[in-house]
Symmetry: D3
Subunit: 247 residues, 6 copies
């Protein structure tokens, strides 16, 4: 179980479930800083899919290639696969499809946050109507963290502007995080978007309460379960039988 | 608002989200018996997709064409669209995609059953592992009916054998329904599969408690909300903005 | 099951559980607009009872004649009975008393609203203290819709002034509905009084989210379950045995 | 606040909400043993009403005179009123009607039991169908004790046979109590009927866990709140305004 | 069961789980006013422990001597023991340790308040960070009263200043109680500190809703269960076996 | 952030909160196998305390020295502290006392298990009465994992016999784990005792669902949060102010 630094101890495939070319570089750079020395990380995007995931409709366009890549990860010997979007798209389908651990940002960051404090809030990018509030609340219900969710809030910056508006992004997250603390009773903050990667640390230094980066949380969670030689329950998420599935 | 029987008052598109050619005829026949005289029902299957939906993995293969057909239904002037599978695949994506009512069997049958008694049980086809138990329990949590769910049970007959094993199917449902009543405290039964269409009435006559056919429930729910000139909340499920979604 | 328009397909008795002479005409007029062509509606009030129901104390005075009329409805061949007050007075006693469907406005409008959005708010008439807030919250708990209830709000107009203050009533409902959306997170509105009949449509046109008229919801729910040949569970609500009950 | 034994410190009216002549004597005898020396207890039945309360339908027939007697109790200077039936009939209407404490057996025994252990079970008389199970479960939900309720069970002896079958009654309660402990995880037992008065002590001596007599619990709860000079919240249960209520 | 005023009917030991010398006199004086004539109350503090309990860390320093005194109470023939601090320190350990009733202020006042209204708020002394909010919310969860808790609020006065700032204390409690009613929907108020003893009555007279003094609630609850010859369930809280426990 | 293997990257103090001399060696051996190469683990027991923790009463005897050792860990430069008993004794007091992460077996293993499946069961050593069932259920409630808990079960072997009865222990755990799966619907198993360390792997290989070793889970959770530079929220668990706390 001791790491051999010559070849990686743990290999994790991070799938960013949107069109390739935008997020991979930043994600790889930030995750490499966070990963253990003996973890090898590969980051891939999609050839077919949406340019971003802001609603359940967008997930539909990511689903097929995402699930294909999850299966490839297992075939190619990865130890775990990380779905790199806070909506956790196809999380149960992916757990059915493979035996290696499938980890997703919302479930991992909620599980970690649930024991860091009494109540967490989730800060989202600019959203459409109230749609994404509902998505996060349904996640909290489905995953069993409903009693821990203080609130869901959103900033005014669109996810596709995150890379070029880094400073505005930090300021906007900080502002909503403070409201979550003062108005909603939150004592822990979850950043609710993969595109917010690399920002948690600075926000945490300012507000002095835990700020969880969801992609980093998922990465560390993946390293943890791989080390523990544990994966999701195959009684709960059984392998689909072969059958005709025309694509 | 008075029906004009010359042309249909209500037009409903029923999408059976599996490969076309197996279920449409039976579904149309049974729903036509149940529909009002002034309701016109069209039933379609998929050209691409799984041969059946038994797990969340199967849903991935149905998603793209299903959501396309939901949008077509709105463009073609249907008053409502019915997703004809008890897993309610893509239900939130579909509600985002269109403004006409989108009705699905699990949510409709749970909403109706919730006021017919104190506790309902869902009877599923033969399932893989315990996967589909989890799907139904997550549905009950997400839709808010968790406190009404007595149990989820399954029979030993595979969904693709339902049409040719009609009598065995009835007997098997009856057997599990009795267990649900006696062992789990259920006072209302929901048939948990679109393929069980047309069987509720006979089971109900035997066990003397309400037995809800989920596809029929969805149809009648659709007629009801169309009549009420009401649809799902577009604040909750806002229309996705145009963006690149490569397929 | 096809409607024969010569004689009604469905006969529903609407009991307005307050002293007769005030609400029957308006209720009949509005429900007739909403009903299907093949539904016959009769609306009756009470000879003994309160002039309005604003608290559980008032329900006590309506109970005896209300339950008597429920039983009469069954004896007289009605297909369903509708208790026309949002407090759903004697709803369980009524379900015990008869086998035909008993439908009530709060349970029907909550069941329908539960799948139109993520959270609904109820708008009440002018209330005494906070008594009626508690009544609605207890209903939501008892019926199992607690997780769907965003808030209960009340306007400043007394129920007995509704008929003569139609425009003020609309304006007041609109104002509270907007607060429910903006402050309480509601995405669906339930009008919490039988006297608000006929107003939902206009409010809905203004606020662009579903507004549910509870009496109309109960009517359409009744038509639906009659069509489905389904009624409440007699294991859950068994018929009372004969015994001495002195009146 | 010291009791003056010459005239009673506390006067409590116990209303047994069924036809007078059957339960008053036993109830008075048992409650007098349990009451403090400075508590005066009067027990009355109804002139109009059901011979027993086994379902919500029966409550309808008790309601009017019961609520009248509750108001009389206040007018006649009683310090508290106790509604002597485990269905707690008209409990909210009664709390609205008067300012003196209204105490009822189910709410009092559940409140007491909630801190005696982790889970309580309720043992009912012979019931009709499963109706009374639902009543008790709805009480637990409405009162907020749902998470403490292990189970509801019933014996085979009818409530009207309790007085003449005292030994059989004890044996039957004991049998179900043991099942509640062994099969349902109960660690505390509530006797779920006013007619079971005077039996708790013996059952408790046998099974060695707390057994709560609901009428005695209500009596002691009433003494407690009177001593504390506290009553139910009149914001929650406001006094009904004068209006026409024809009887 | 009749009280013999020559020797006390009920003997209750009140343990104030902080360093002796500060609270005993006031506590004894106020409880003696509230107790029945036939109840004898002894109040003791600790020789080792914290000067006040404001967090779970403080409880650690009170635990050993507190639990020792609980066992002594039983050995010395007390009928019940009352742990005189709203954090209910060591409540489950104490229930394990003895067979006589152990009553604590938070559990008793929540149990009583749960049937006085629909929602209660707890008013705390000045707190550190938000720590004590979490303590009270965890109590409500653990005891099963979560659905009844409207809010937890705190005043700006430190508990050790309560005795010398009696008037300011009342004013501060009153101010927060009003906010709890108006902003949080509370209809019942629990004073969340043993040091607030003797103040409830005046606050109640001003705000006209029930205000529960937690130490008095615990005393009256203790008298009640002793009278009922009932104690906590020893299946739920079994007596610890002898073993080495080095101190 | 890259580990420097010359000196440890992470230093964790494991406090086994019972009398020293029994568990340290086994715990150190097993944890060293599970830890990363760059993690240094020290394991200590208590000089004063109970020989084992089987109930909340036992925790009282561990509390003072345990909390002292937690503070020492922080002063001595440990990166995290692990409380090595499944009852998670003094978990909130410890979080208040220090700023470095405090991790405990029940909360860590429940957080991890909550996303491995739909329902987990906890297998305990031989217990006294049903006391420890209540402890685990209260933990699940307090930590927010109540909806994920399938059941709590116990084997017949006493914790102090675990080391010498290794094979019997495995067999007994396996037997109860199978019952948890078949009878209680569990799809994930948590070993509910620190003394069960080193056994999960073999059980998992037999039953083919995740089996979580709670001490190892806590260790890996500690490594994870240290890597993430995150700790518990100090708003939620604020540092106790200096004051007199006599010991």
């Amino acid at each position: 179980m001791k790491p051999n630094l010559e070849k990686p101890h743990i290999k994790i495939l991070v799938i960013v479930p949107v069109l390739a070319g935008f997020w991979e570089e930043l994600t790889k750079k930030e995750l490499s800083k966070a990963a253990r020395a003996d973890t090898k990380i590969d980051v891939v995007g999609l050839k077919k899919g949406p340019v971003s995931i802001e609603c359940e409709y967008d997930e539909v366009f990511a689903a097929l290639e995402l699930i294909e890549k999850v299966k490839e990860a297992e075939r190619n010997g990865y130890d775990a696969v990380l779905i790199g979007c806070f909506t956790d798209p196809c999380i149960y389908a992916a757990k059915e499809a493979v035996k290696i651990p499938v980890v997703a940002p919302a479930e991992a960051s909620m599980a970690i946050s649930s024991i860091l404090g009494e109540k967490f809030s989730v800060i989202l990018p600019k959203i459409i109507g109230r749609g994404a509030y509902g998505i996060v609340k349904r996640q909290a219900k489905t995953y069993g963290f409903e009693s821990k969710l203080a609130s869901v809030r959103s900033i005014k910056i669109h996810v596709l502007d995150f890379i070029k508006m880094r400073e505005e992004l930090k300021a906007a997250i900080l502002e909503e995080a403070k409201k979550a603390i003062d108005l909603d009773g939150a004592d822990t903050i979850i950043l609710g978007c993969g595109g917010m990667i690399g920002i948690a640390k600075e926000v945490q230094e300012t507000i002095k309460i835990p700020v969880v980066d969801p992609i980093m949380a998922a990465l560390k969670f993946a390293e943890m379960v791989v080390d523990m030689k544990i994966s999701h329950s195959k009684i709960a998420y059984p392998t689909p039988p072969p059958k005709e599935r025309k694509t």
